[in-house]
């Protein structure tokens, strides 16, 4: 059979349609999770890996899933989970045990909880993804596959996995570890991680290239709207879609005045143009103190503070400008400014100095704290790389 060499105009239009449908599905759909279907689908995924059907616990957020997994492993005792709010802990505990009781009843409960995300993932890839890849490869020329890959797989992946999943993953992981809970590596079989390739083969199903029962079943599992998955031997913990996801014009997680992602149990995740930030920065920036700004170790988070506070940033630092000038050579020249506090800082017991710089690539402005004995902007920037003013001569800055 001749391979598909070129997409027809209607096939190209379908490509865009499929991509937009997937993005709408992730970001705009309000469809509730079909819990019974979720249970059946996850049992099927476990069966692919030769694993016994697990207990399936459905919770309302990634944080809930992580706490729930800790409960199931018996990790959360009052003294261990003390930093998790009592209300949160109580809610999750009640939800977990209600569901465990419903499913276990009088059966013996085998409490072995190894993580099995890799076993399930390997089988999904081996028995589903790799087979449909071969189907497409057999029937479609590489350039057509690449065209669809770029338009559908790549763009859905970029917007969902790169811009949302990575950040959700990092923030949840950080918060779980901060609470001294065990962190469970999330499985991939959910909307936020397996969006790109499923959308890609969805398109090839639509034009009659992919015909694969396993893929059809897997896609229906993904389209049920499971957003987070933890797969353990004996138990799977998962949650459905959040109440909303808000993004900026560049598709980065962002909300000016509230959570960028709000989950059904009230778990709120705050982001400023894709940067993970605290609730205080977004919702009560007027409570930020100069010490908050100086102690913040992450330059991107401090930049978020600067942007959120706008002109109040300088007011909060209570600084005066002591130098302004051009730093860099050739095309890398950029203006920088040196600020010093009006008064000696009462905690540091010295004047605080900051150099305000602009990123050569993004144009974003940052403020870095520098020692109080530096007198000019070039020396200030050079110091941040351990160089003197005479030494600091980058040929290219990006």
């Amino acid at each position: 059979m001749a391979k598909l060499e070129k997409l027809l105009p209607e096939q190209e239009a379908l490509m865009i349609q499929v991509r937009e449908e997937w993005l709408d599905f992730v970001f705009k759909s309000k469809l509730p999770l079909d819990k019974q279907k979720a249970i059946e689908d996850v049992k099927w995924l476990y069966s692919l890996a030769g694993l016994a059907a697990p207990l399936i616990i459905i919770l309302d957020s990634p944080r809930g899933c992580q706490i729930g997994a800790n409960f199931l492993k018996g990790q959360v005792r009052d003294q261990v989970g003390g930093q998790v709010g009592d209300q949160v802990r109580g809610q999750v505990r009640d939800q977990v045990w209600d569901q465990v009781w419903d499913q276990v009843r009088d059966q013996v409960w085998d409490q072995v909880w190894d993580q099995v995300w890799d076993q399930v993932g390997d089988q999904v890839r081996g028995q589903v993804r790799d087979q449909v890849w071969d189907q497409v490869g057999d029937q479609v020329l590489d350039q057509v596959r690449d065209q669809v890959g770029g338009q559908v797989w790549g763009q859905v992946w970029d917007q969902v996995r790169d811009q949302v999943w990575d950040q959700v993953w990092d923030q949840v992981g950080g918060q779980v570890r901060d609470q001294e809970l065990e962190y469970f590596y999330p499985a991939e079989e959910n909307v936020l991680t397996d969006n790109g390739w499923v959308a890609f083969y969805d398109y090839f199903s639509g034009i009659g290239i992919v015909k694969h029962d396993g893929f059809t079943k897997y896609m229906s599992h993904i389209k049920n709207g499971i957003f987070y998955t933890i797969f353990l031997k004996g138990a799977a913990i998962l949650c459905g879609r959040p109440e909303y996801i808000k993004r900026d014009e560049s598709n980065r997680l962002h909300c000016e005045d509230g959570p960028a992602i709000l989950w059904m149990d009230g778990y709120a995740q705050y982001f400023w143009h894709g940067v993970s930030v605290t609730q205080k920065i977004v919702e009560t920036p007027e409570q930020l103190t100069r010490e908050d700004l100086v102690r913040e170790e992450n330059a991107e988070v401090r930049r978020a503070m600067m942007e959120k506070l706008d002109s109040d940033f300088i007011k909060l630092l209570d600084v005066i400008e002591v130098d302004r000038g051009i730093v860099g050579i050739g095309d890398s020249r950029k203006e920088a400014v040196l600020w010093r506090t009006r008064e000696i800082d009462s905690i540091a017991n010295e004047y605080l100095q900051f150099v305000g710089v602009t990123c050569h690539s993004t144009g974003r402005e940052y403020a870095l704290c520098i020692p109080s004995d530096i007198k000019d902007v070039w020396s200030a920037v050079a110091w941040t790389f351990g160089k003197s003013k005479d030494e600091y001569r980058p040929l290219v800055e990006a």
Binding site: V294, A299, E300, H360, S361, F385
Partner: protein, 100 residues
């Protein structure tokens, strides 16, 4: 010859004659991962090595350094030492690495 410097965001890449003996090649070509953004500086074409906490690059003749938000830079073939940007912590009276 004077060392050549290339800046990529919070990294300064400075040419050096040789990479210290005993530097170990990293498993990936990620030079540095961002913590708040999840973005990474990546060397394409060459090796990323490390010794005693210092990162070295062995750039091939077509090496570039990429990042999701910074413009791509091209590095001439050769060896480089990576310096991370720092700022001053006035409360601890010490320099600390700039994170992003």
């Amino acid at each position: 010859m004077k060392n050549l410097m290339y800046r990529h965001g919070d990294l300064l890449l400075e040419s050096i004659d040789i990479i210290p003996e005993g530097a170990i090649q990293r498993k990936s070509n990620v030079i540095l991962n961002g913590t708040a953004t999840g973005h990474s500086h990546i060397l394409n074409g060459g090796l990323v090595l490390e010794k005693e906490g210092t990162i070295y690059l062995q750039a091939s003749d077509t090496a570039t350094v990429t990042h999701e938000e910074h413009n791509t830079i091209t590095l001439p073939e050769g060896n480089y030492v990576v310096t991370r940007q720092v700022e001053y912590d006035p409360y601890e009276k010490a320099a600390r690495e700039v994170l992003d």
